[in-house]
């Protein structure tokens, strides 16, 4: 497996030189291979979003470097390698569902036929074929989030960056969406970086879980999830699943105590 | 002092800093634009006079004649303030304008107060009784499509019949413009608390009156003040427009009318009077804005 994303020696300080200075991330090293599903897990405020945004070049590191396929993150972004999904679906009110999915294709200059074919395909993938002409406000939260995923996948980016995409959904919808995401991931063979603060979600979805601790944001440990693939509803009852959940929880607790013992930041 | 308090103070100071910087930047760009506009005015004049009123290199006439009648020099306008307004008159224009502005302001303040009270009451009634809103709101909105100037003479005549001082009628006209924003925003503000906030009050078995006093009114306050700022300038405009057909001799409306009749003999005086009228409107709006700062806590004010 070849490395796709490589984060080395990265730290991020907000408001440098002012009295509301925040050290959000410190000495982060992380390598992600092609086709991996990696979760970033940790308590809120530990810098998960910041790390994801660094990878996606929505913000830049204070020190260190983020490389994607050997290029800088900025180059990767300009090369349109990222599909992003945020906690809020961020659909444009003024566009119908299918026009929302088409948005990146328009910007990237695809022809009309290509766009429409692709949109149809994507809507089918997220099982919303019949909702193309609806406006976002006519959809439930879960449906909106599926549109956002369809939009992120529409231009076939090689890397999917997701920041708590299911955070605002109820438990039932959430589990269904997780299954759907895995199904899509198996089909597309994308590299996925997935931010969450739910332990079962991280374990269920990922091939690796990056456990982070707060103040300053650090990687407390990286845990391989060797729960058999493909995952399905039986996975949640698999003994290995529970063992891994325990292991991740243990790692989180350790990260916490280390922080408390460590020097004040 | 606890840690939390220090942190808050720190934030406060930062915010204040940012506010100052913002104010400074606004002032700077304001002055720059003002300078630019003055430059355009004088530049247009100079250019037009050089080309004898033609667009350069063509035989097309400029849309506005660049002569001193159409466009007096800015310094002529400024200077006219310090000269007697009428030949042989005693008062300089500035004094005349100040007196007239004071007179008009009195009308405007009364219209503002009356209009705001009526506007608030209407908003409160509409907020409480949907039927009233449904049956009257369309007419309230339509009332603002009536050209004031057309009804002003009638109101003046009614006032004359009732032996009111003429300026009361002008105040009523001014109130006609004032009440509307207050009604709309009072209604909007009273309806602004979300359902859960109302349900919380219901869970305490609060009476309608208590809900009004403890929830809806405080919630409406920022909305009302936003409307009052609009109304302040509207009341001045209403007073000036109301004076035009009323035959009142002492206000800014009459001054504007007189100088527009005698435009040819001194256009700069009309320009200066318009600036004076604008200054009165701005002054009143600023006063209400200061009152808002004093009454509505920071962070609850609606931004422009």
């Amino acid at each position: 497996m070849n490395t796709v994303i490589s984060v080395s020696g990265v730290s991020k300080v907000f408001n440098q030189g002012r009295d509301n200075r925040v050290s959000a991330l410190e000495s982060i090293n992380l390598e992600i291979d092609s086709g991996e599903f990696v979760s970033l897990l940790g308590p809120s405020g530990c810098g998960k979003s910041t790390l994801l945004r660094l990878i996606g070049d929505l913000t830049s590191p204070s020190t260190g470097a983020v490389l994607v396929n050997g290029k800088s993150a900025a180059q990767a972004r300009r090369g349109r390698e990222y599909g992003m999904v945020f906690q809020q679906a961020t659909l444009y009110d003024w566009r119908t569902v299918s026009r929302n999915v088409q948005l990146p294709l328009e910007i990237m200059g695809h022809s009309r036929e290509q766009r429409e074919a692709r949109t149809q395909e994507m809507l089918k993938l997220v099982q919303l074929e019949s909702f193309g002409r609806h406006y976002p406000w006519q959809l439930s939260g879960g449906m909106q989030q599926r549109v956002a995923i369809a939009r992120a996948l529409a231009f076939q980016p090689s890397i999917l960056l997701m920041d708590e995409p299911f955070g605002a959904l109820d438990e039932m919808t959430r589990e269904r969406m997780q299954m759907e995401l895995l199904r899509i991931w198996e089909q597309t063979k994308n590299t996925v970086v997935f931010v969450t603060h739910s332990i079962p979600e991280a374990v269920f979805l990922s091939s690796r879980v990056v456990v982070m601790s707060a103040r300053p944001g650090r990687i407390a440990g990286i845990i391989n999830i060797d729960v058999p693939q493909p995952r399905n509803f039986e996975t949640r009852e698999h003994p290995r699943f529970f063992e891994k959940i325990t292991e991740v929880r243990e790692c989180l607790r350790q990260g916490e105590t280390n922080t408390h013992k460590g020097p004040p930041s | 002092m606890t840690v939390a308090q220090t942190v808050e103070l720190g934030l406060d100071e930062n915010q204040r800093d940012a506010q100052w910087r913002l104010a400074l930047r606004r002032a700077a760009s304001f002055l720059l634009i003002l300078l630019l506009l003055c430059g355009v005015w004088e530049g247009y004049k100079a250019l037009g006079q050089a080309t004898r009123g033609k667009v350069p290199f063509t035989s097309l006439k400029l849309p506005i004649r660049p002569d001193d009648k159409s466009m007096p020099h800015l310094w002529t306008i400024g200077g006219s303030l310090l000269q007697p307004a009428r030949r042989g008159g005693e008062d300089i224009l500035l004094v005349i304008l100040l007196k007239a502005a004071l007179f008009t302001w009195r009308e405007a303040v009364m219209g503002f107060v009356g209009g705001s009270v009526i506007g608030f009451l209407l908003g409160a009634i509409f907020g409480r009784f949907l039927l009233f809103e449904r049956s009257l709101m369309p007419y309230i909105v339509a009332s603002q499509t009536v050209p004031l100037l057309a009804i002003a003479p009638m109101i003046v005549i009614w006032g004359g019949r009732l032996n009111w001082p003429a300026w009361w009628s002008v105040s009523i006209i001014s109130a006609y413009l004032t009440f509307f924003p207050v009604t709309i925003n009072t209604l909007r503000g009273l309806r602004s608390p979300n359902l859960t906030a109302v349900e919380l009050m219901r869970s305490y078995a609060a009476s309608e009156m208590q809900i009004l006093l403890k929830l809806r009114l405080p919630a409406a306050l920022p909305y009302i003040f936003t409307a009052l700022k609009v109304s302040a300038t509207a009341s001045v405009i209403g007073a000036i427009v109301g004076e035009l057909p009323s035959g009142i001799q002492d206000g800014l409306g009459r001054v504007l009318l007189t100088f527009s009749y005698y435009y040819i003999s001194g256009p700069e005086k009309l320009y200066a009077s318009i600036v004076g009228a604008a200054a009165l409107g701005i002054l009143f709006a600023v006063i209400v804005a200061l009152a808002e700062r004093w009454i509505v806590p920071e962070g609850r004010r609606l931004s422009e």
């Binding site: 929505l58 009110d93 948005l103 | 930047r25 405009i237 604008a278």
Partner: protein
């Protein structure tokens, strides 16, 4: 300013078509019946009061008299209204195009847009009609451009400010999304900023529509063509012909409301996604 900008929003909600064919008629009845009853009652009361107290016609003409005058004078009042409407619409188009153009040009530089604010406030506080004599001098007293320019000044600032607001107050996440696509500034302008500004723009346009009719009429007070509605009103009022004046006022109101309704319809057509269209069943 924006908080009162969309003045008629509360009733607009009422005017909206609601879904559900069965309850539709009942809804409509519930919405339009009360104002209609008030209308009839007010007219009857008005007529009665004038009759009972023998109020002279020059103080308050009876509705029946106004109606009769309206019909008798319609051959004068309607063309006058049309004449003034042309000025209002001309100035409205001029002012809003200019406002939109300046907004597009300056929205990139926040400082410039902010620097315009004090001017907007100042102009807002000025009785713009006081500029009428100056415009008459500039363009000629009977030149429609003189009135159009007044209307344009009235329309310009609300439109410009609201457009700048709409272009700049964009959801940060919407912009980040575009950044993740490495979209050009032009693409961001066309696909995010401009659509985002449309609701702001329309709320300014709607308010300006009624103001521009009033502005045209009032600026005619300082002199204008004899065909103009404002000139007609001030002449008739000066002669205490209030029946005639009221007829003209009715025309003026109708024009203002019609202009507003046209913009409302246009808004619905251009922004089928807009919040105000999301009719919900309240009961």
């Amino acid at each position: 300013m924006s908080q009162v900008a969309d003045l008629a929003a509360p009733i607009e909600q009422e005017l909206l078509p609601q879904p559900g064919a069965a309850s539709r008629w009942r809804d409509r009845l519930r919405r339009f019946l009360p104002p209609a009853i008030v209308f009839v009652l007010a007219l009857v009361l008005w007529e009665a009061v004038v009759n009972i107290f023998h109020i002279e016609g020059f103080l308050l003409p009876k509705p029946s008299v106004i109606a009769a005058t309206f019909i008798a004078e319609s051959s004068v009042v309607f063309p006058a209204g049309l004449f003034t409407m042309r000025e209002a619409v001309g100035g409205f188009v001029l002012g809003s195009l200019l406002g939109i153009a300046i907004a597009l040009a300056t929205a990139r530089w926040a400082a410039v847009a902010e620097g315009m604010m004090p001017f907007a406030i100042a102009v807002n506080s000025t009785p713009i009609v006081a500029l009428a004599p100056i415009m008459n001098q500039w363009f000629g007293i009977t030149n429609p451009l003189a009135k159009m320019s007044i209307v344009a000044v009235i329309v310009f600032f609300p439109v410009m400010i609201n457009t700048v607001k709409g272009l700049t107050q964009v959801d940060a996440a919407a912009l980040e999304l575009m950044r993740s696509y490495a979209a050009t500034d032009l693409a961001v302008l066309l696909r995010v900023r401009i659509p985002n500004s449309l609701p702001y723009l329309f709320s300014a346009l709607k308010v300006s529509s009624t103001l521009s009719v009033i502005g045209a009429i009032v600026s005619e007070y300082f002199g204008g063509s004899r065909e103009a509605l404002g000139v007609y009103i001030s002449q008739q009022a000066a002669l205490f012909h209030f029946g005639e004046a009221w007829s003209a006022i009715i025309i003026a109101c109708l024009m203002g409301i019609a202009f507003y309704a046209i913009l409302l319809t246009l808004e619905r057509l251009i922004m089928p996604w807009h919040v105000s269209i999301r009719a919900t069943d309240e009961e």
